[in-house]
Amino acid sequence: MVTSAPKTGPAPFAAAKAKVLGCDRCGTCLPACPLFQVQDVERASARGKNALVRGLAEGLIPPDREAQEALEFCLLCRACTDACPGKVPTDEAMVQVRQALADTLGSTPLRSRWIGRVLRRRRLVGLGAATLAGLRVAELHRLLPPQLVPRETSRRAYLKKHAGPALLGASAPRPEPAVHPGAKVAYFQGCGMKMLFPDASRSTQRILAQLSPFQQPDHPCCGLPHLAHGQREAFLDLARENIQAFEDADLVVTDCASCSGSLKHLTSWFAEDPIWRGPAERFSAKVMDLTEYLVAAGYQPQRLPDATFTYHDPCHLARGQGIRQQPRQLLKQAGKLIELAEKERCCGGSGSFHLEHPEAAAAILQRKQANIEGTGAQVVVTACPGCLIQLTRAADQSEGAFQAMHISQVI
């Protein structure tokens, strides 16, 4: 009888291999992985990617560009882990192996370096829409989807459409803040919200202000895009900057599911670091997703009798942080919520994935769009700018069948 004996292989892949040791190649994840559905080859699936990690670690697969591309082809959506009987963290393995490949091959593909550089420059990000113009000059726009600046639906237009006349413009009664009365709240404005959805970001700020005064310290990107593309050092630098920027706050609230997800998990990255371990732990402990905070603080959304919503669960919120109920509770208070078929299936956005693999992302989105149209809801709501880019595109393609909005714009 032949059995798998543990082998040792190239050291750079040891960390990634350790993550996939529990994978017994059963195949449970095959139907769960959205990418396997649009590209039915083994390497697109979680099982296939985990096998590639082992193959690299055991010296069966050369660490080359082709391997790197195959392992970049992952949404990090965790649908596989959710389905997996052994809860193998394929997404974490992908992050580790991308890092190892980036280290081994010297540099990551050009596009991710550019994206990394752009997001890292706080000033560039700060310029918002002007950044996008800058990107075009730098010929970076070819990396971006045709309509990167998504046509953002404004809260005002939305209110006009769905509210009864008496309610238009009325603000919600000011509730007592329930989360640590007197806590110093700070808003973490992610790059996506700042650059692409400024109107939604203003809505968040308006809502936060209704609950308590809040600070908005100057801060860089959360670092998730860097991590996803094997730029661990850049990620750690950004994390340290963020820890310092929010030292003063008791609560760090963000309206980007990807930011809250990565900021909540800083601790493990500094576990071995005697200086930063403590601060990282303290910082992560005070991060809250907007909806999580609002429910805890007892925020009462304004009710619009005529609004029908459906809600798309961002991967980083539902599977990443277990936040499923809070957004629904808020939406039910604000209007009628119709549940979406396959509500937790990734929309195909996933950071820069939709820029790098437009066809696969479009195919995934098509299914999402059909599901949204199936609900008959007027508005698809989500809580992550990454998802919102995709959903806005779906809304455009649906020719007015529905609108896409950030949750802060409808509650």
Partner: protein, 467 residues
């Protein structure tokens, strides 16, 4: 084992012509994904195929086979590679013939209660398709959400419902099979009674891809049961649990599933779910019953209550809600990984004994566990005598690895001694090949070889498997 070289460009062209260029995978990185299945075999360079060919029609399969035959290229059929014994792992290079793109359900004949489908259809998809018309396709291997019908037929897959409804073989009415040289054979048909010639249909069921490529299958169906219920019963010993199942079957109460687990399994589940094992619990039965409606379920449940009480059960719980049903089944479904989490490695086996020998084989496995100083939790399908002992070990420790293999040998020997077989449902593949000749004896082995020689004289179909 032949060493691997890349296929000649001309040869690849032949396959490209047969199925279309985009349906042939050649990149070394991509074909690596077709070198393994869900068995415990190590990843290895020697099992990477030279190309993967993905036909969409019977005609394409026929062209691929004719060409492979002419060029003497080994062909390993593959469904979803969820097999547990290495059946779809190519041992001698050549091509993997991946049938997962043949996903059409061809005809649902409600009048005759039959359905025909292509080999790449997922088992659960066929089930759901039929259920929408009130018809029932019972085979339900644990892998049914991702395994394919072709793989199910080739492995004669069973499932939890086998105790009442039988295994895949009991539903196959006819097959379309592409033979090694590309010729197309049709067997069986919709006539329920059929004694014309040899039973060629059965010959291919369980043939593990060594006799032909299943390109279409015709299955019979049953009416969909209108109601289902789930019961969880705890006993002090495995003996008590087994005798309760015997009594039920003798009494004419046939559960549609009767899953059994021993004390170690209960402990593993409790650990994984952060719960506690009932004091004194030594075995657990999870029973599914089905019938026409609530009253039929109630009557069965009452009978089972009485029988299990007589057998000495400690607790009896009949699921009252959908959530409770889910919670009980989740315990069974999470079992395999809960057990796996107890040790660095697990050699999960699949033996089958006559139902009456179930308690005895468990006793022998326990004895093997103590002589090899390893934990060997046992769970399985009590109703049909099919059990899955899992040898827990650390293969990184050479002494323990040796003891683990000794334990596996002992388990197979115990099964054979008691009139059982090497495999209840996972097949022989590669991992049980060393035991095959002993298990079946020389005459059977020669007969197997003669059949193989007649259908695949060049030995190109799934070489290296079964014996």
């Amino acid at each position: 084992m032949t060493s691997l070289t890349t296929l000649e460009p001309l040869v690849l062209d032949g396959f490209r012509e047969a199925v279309g260029r985009e349906h042939v995978i050649e990149s070394p990185l991509e074909v690596f994904g077709y070198s393994y299945d869900a068995s415990f075999l190590a990843l290895d360079r020697s099992t990477v195929p030279q190309a993967v060919v993905r036909p969409r029609t019977t005609q394409e399969i026929s062209r691929v086979m004719a060409f492979a035959h002419q060029q003497r290229i080994p062909v390993t059929p593959r469904g979803a590679a969820s097999g547990r014994t290495g059946g779809s792992v190519p041992l001698e290079g050549g091509i993997v013939l991946a049938l997962d793109r043949m996903t059409s359900i061809l005809e649902l004949d409600t009048a005759n209660m039959m359905v025909s489908a292509e080999p790449g259809v997922r088992t659960a998809d066929l089930h759901d398709h039929c259920a929408r018309q009130g018809l029932f396709f019972p085979p339900d291997p644990g892998s049914w959400k991702f395994s394919t019908l072709g793989g199910n037929v080739a492995e004669n897959a069973g499932g939890m419902r086998a105790v009442k409804y039988g295994v895949t073989r009991d539903y196959v009415m006819g097959l379309e099979v592409v033979l090694a040289d590309g010729s197309i054979l049709e067997t069986g048909g919709k006539a329920v009674k059929n004694v014309t010639g040899y039973d060629l249909t059965s010959l291919f069921v369980g043939s593990e891809g060594t006799l032909g490529i299943v390109s279409k299958a015709l299955f019979r169906l049953r009416p969909l049961p209108k109601a289902r219920g789930v019961i969880r019963v705890i006993f002090r010993t495995m003996d008590e649990a087994c005798s309760a199942v015997q009594e039920m079957l003798l009494d004419g109460v046939t559960p549609s599933a009767a899953e059994i687990m021993d004390a170690t399994c209960l402990e593993a589940v409790a650990r994984a779910r952060n719960t506690r094992v009932e004091p004194g619990a030594g075995a657990c039965l999870i029973l599914e019953i089905d019938g026409d409606g609530a009253s039929s379920l109630e009557a069965q449940s009452l009978r089972i209550d009485t029988i299990t009480r007589q057998a000495g059960c400690i607790t009896f719980r009949s699921a009252a809600s959908k959530e409770e049903t889910e919670a009980i089944w989740a315990e069974r479904r999470g079992l395999s990984s809960a057990v796996a989490a107890m040790a660095p490695n697990r050699l999960g086996e699949d033996i089958s004994v006559p139902r009456s020998a179930f308690p005895e084989v468990v006793r022998r496995i326990n004895a093997i566990a103590s002589t090899t100083k390893l934990r060997i939790p046992v769970f399985g399908h009590a109703g049909d005598g099919n059990l899955h002992p899992s040898v827990l070990c650390d293969l990184g420790n050479p002494d323990e690895a040796a003891r683990a293999h000794q334990a596996v040998d002992g388990i197979f020997k115990a099964a054979l001694d008691l009139g059982g077989t090497l495999s209840g449902e996972h097949g022989i593949g590669i991992s049980k090949r060393p035991y095959f000749a002993d298990a079946v004896g020389p005459v059977s082995l020669a007969t197997h070889r003669a059949i193989k020689g007649a259908l695949d004289p060049l030995g190109l179909l799934n070489p290296g498997k079964i014996w």
